[in-house]
Symmetry: C2
Subunit: 109 residues, 2 copies
């Protein structure tokens, strides 16, 4: 019953912080759109389906504080080295997405 109470869900754990960060709208999308290189704020907004600058800016702040994204005057927003590590770690999920869509024809239109 309460034999398995909370497991590793204490709030201090890195995975919890990461889950929290990624579980906000546009966070994953931003990281994904920056995978090929830096984008200006406007270009990023275009890539993110014209998401409102309010949230985008908030998420960029989050991601900058998380040191996954950085801003350089010349190029705009891009992944930090940590961000590029994230990208690498994310790739299996990218591959999974295809298997997922494949084995889940519950996606009519």
């Amino acid at each position: 019953m309460t034999d398995r109470p909370v497991r590793g869900s204490r709030t201090g754990r890195p995975i919890m912080a990461l889950l929290d960060l990624l579980g906000r709208r546009w966070t994953l999308r931003i990281l994904w759109e920056l995978r090929d290189g830096p984008l200006t704020s406007r270009a990023l907004r275009a890539a993110c389906d014209e998401a409102s600058p309010t949230v985008l800016q908030a998420r960029l702040d989050d991601l900058r504080e998380a040191e996954l994204v950085e801003h350089s005057a010349g190029e705009g927003y891009g992944l930090t080295e940590l961000g590029r590590e994230f990208r690498t770690a994310f790739m299996p999920l990218y591959a999974f997405a295809d298997r997922w869509a494949d084995g889940k024809p519950t996606t009519p239109s």
Copy 2:
């Protein structure tokens, strides 16, 4: 400038659907808490820091529709085979979380 318009966005690619699903609050957390085996709705709620049942139920519906989570009368909520594939694909990010926290001592308390 518009030389790099949207890249791989739109087109309803699987990755976009996955990014959308995971970018909702508690989605990733739920999948994470179910990693070791099924939990009843109440136990899951406890594991998820007593999140409100409203959202949890909504996310469980999302995840069931996505065929990542299933419900069995006897055991509660658990990962489907697809869900277990997800878990595998997610592991690199779990490993990354530690490196991230390590190289980012910007997490005092």
